[in-house]
Subunit: 224 residues, 2 copies
């Protein structure tokens, strides 16, 4: 029975990783579409998130079934509960990749606005956070997960910088307005992707250490 | 034992409702701050989401404890799993209210940009969706939950309209750019709040009917 249960947990692990790969691929491809000005690729990302959505439903159902049939406790229970939450975050990241694809398709209707400022760099940072948060999940690596949480500020700062720079563009040349607004929204979406990767990392820390790090509760507890 | 468990489920119910009231209040207050140009109120929303964050952690822990101690099955299990997910969505709505408060504080540094177009109306629609999705949750009312899902398109359409209108403003008068961008972001945040209310409503339908309505799977299944 326990061996059978372990095998099922392993399958859940694989589903989450599979979901993560799809999401990472979507972010990578939409950024490639933006940089290379490749509209068909952006279209493909925009229309390609059905597999992510279906997998989300399958993972939810697998989690509920595991809870119902095996009534796990301790770390197995934590694992399944965290899988439910991570699943949610991954699905949102997929939605955000679709949102970026929509903005990209708008952007490709007009000439390129400068070299996209720091957006590709933001995207790389966000993708790396997604990748590392899932790595941390597979390897139950709390140190790597903590490292992911720390990097969230870098993406936020880069986004603030991109935002300010794009405002300057718009003010000095109103012809750039629609494109600059689209890029501001792309920046926002990337920032949200990094936020979700941070959520995943926080869930990994909870999974490994049974400790909540959300909302900087730790520092707060230490401070009081 | 069962009676004790039922009492604990009731407490979980109350926690979720409490979380919902805090979130609804935050959205209502930040919109009041924007309309009345009340910076201290916007500050209060910006700094006031700690209780929401703490409650999120408490609800997560309550869910895990209930799963571990009572090893529920059937509809009780679905209820706890949905509470975990709804909790997540409510916490994000709280974050979005904080984001709107940040934009509002920026906006209040400059003169009012026209009568905020349809933003207050969008906010009312979104708040009503949040309210009804939680009502549907308490009353296990799948019909009301379905109705909430249908209203998501209205908010999306209103947001597209607001977006286009603000672009026109910026292009005809570049002095409005920073304010218009802030309002575009407020519109986005409200649209995301409505998305999260839709998630809650979908979870309620699943809870009541044991049926997944996410990603329009139903229509797809009917079509094949």
């Amino acid at each position: 029975m326990q061996r059978h249960f372990d095998a099922e947990l392993q399958l859940l692990n694989q589903d989450i990783l599979q979901m993560g790969s799809l999401v990472e691929a979507a972010i990578g491809q939409v950024m490639k579409a933006l940089v290379d000005r490749n509209a068909p690729l952006a279209e493909a990302v925009k229309n390609g998130d059905d597999p992510i959505n279906w997998l989300e439903i399958a993972i939810d159902e697998r989690c509920l079934e595991l809870l119902a049939r095996h009534q796990p406790a301790g770390s197995d229970l934590r694992f399944i509960a965290m899988a439910l939450k991570i699943n949610n975050d991954l699905e949102r990241m997929g939605d955000l990749a679709v949102n970026i694809a929509e903005r990209t398709l708008d952007l490709l209707k007009e000439p390129l606005l400068k070299p996209l400022i720091d957006i590709p760099r933001m995207s790389l940072l966000a993708q790396q956070m997604v990748n590392d948060s899932l790595d941390a999940f597979v390897r139950r690596d709390a140190a790597l997960a903590r490292n992911v949480c720390q990097r969230d500020d870098d993406v936020d700062n880069l986004n603030d910088q991109v935002f300010r720079e794009l405002l300057t563009y718009m003010i000095s040349d109103p012809k750039t307005i629609t494109r600059a607004v689209d890029l501001i929204l792309v920046g926002r979406h990337l920032e949200r992707i990094a936020d979700h990767a941070t959520n995943v990392a926080e869930d990994v820390i909870y999974l490994v250490q049974g400790k909540t790090v959300k909302h900087h509760l730790e520092e707060r507890q230490l401070a009081t």
